[in-house]
Amino acid sequence: MSDENGEGLSPIVKVISSMLFPFIMIFSFYVIMHGHLTPGGGFQGGAIGASAVVMLIVAFGARHTERRAGEEKLSAFESIGGTVFVVVALFGFIMAATFMSNFLVGTSVFGEIPPFGSNPGILNTGGILPILNFAVGMKVIGGLSAVVLAMALVSREDD
């Protein structure tokens, strides 16, 4: 019925959720990296990715998930995302005049300018927006899953 620790749900749920996990993470990455083209962005895609981690916590139990990715690791992941956000924003001082100026527009990295109005959507546009979206996505994935993991571990200890 359950594994050696008496944790987690039935094997059917475990197999299905471990099969679904990569697809949900790919969808989360898609929503994050297309944030400057389609509805969505860092916060929304990060919430999708964090829900995938929460699905693993529900299916496999908090202890098993902690062995694979502890909350310190997830918290460090979140801090890296926040640091990338601030560093990219500070680079605006060096590359352009102001904090958080979009200095990548017009360059070869994410710098194409799309035709005005409706267009199919070119991924290589947006300046610093894709980088900031990615940083915020890292922040939300790490932060939300670390909080849920910490809560699940504390509630297990009371048993």
Binding site: S75, E78, M100, N102, G127, I128, L129, G143, A150, E157
Partner: protein
């Protein structure tokens, strides 16, 4: 004390109601700012999604504050739910 609180509450509620009554019609652009964003987003930021352009470029400070709120909330949860003596 309760009477004063009730009076303040009713007055503030009436103020908010008046403000809501005075709002412009739904969907009617109130200022030139909307037209500016629609006209210039693709040239200035290169992003098709005007909402993302406003959130991350024109209002970047706001997003930085949002990220700080998230960070503070998670740090608070980690402090409260930390397990003592985990490594012993």
């Amino acid at each position: 004390m309760r009477k004063i609180a009730a009076i303040v509450f009713v007055a503030f509620f009436a103020f908010l109601l008046l403000a809501a009554y005075d709002m412009h019609d739904f969907g009617a652009p109130p200022s030139a700012m909307d037209d500016y964003v629609i006209e210039n987003t693709q040239n200035e930021t290169g992003a098709n999604n005007a909402v993302t352009a406003v959130v991350f470029d024109y209002r970047g400070y706001d997003t930085l504050g949002e990220a700080t709120v998230l960070f503070t909330a998670i740090a608070g949860v980690m402090v409260v739910l930390r397990r003592r003596g985990k490594n012993e």
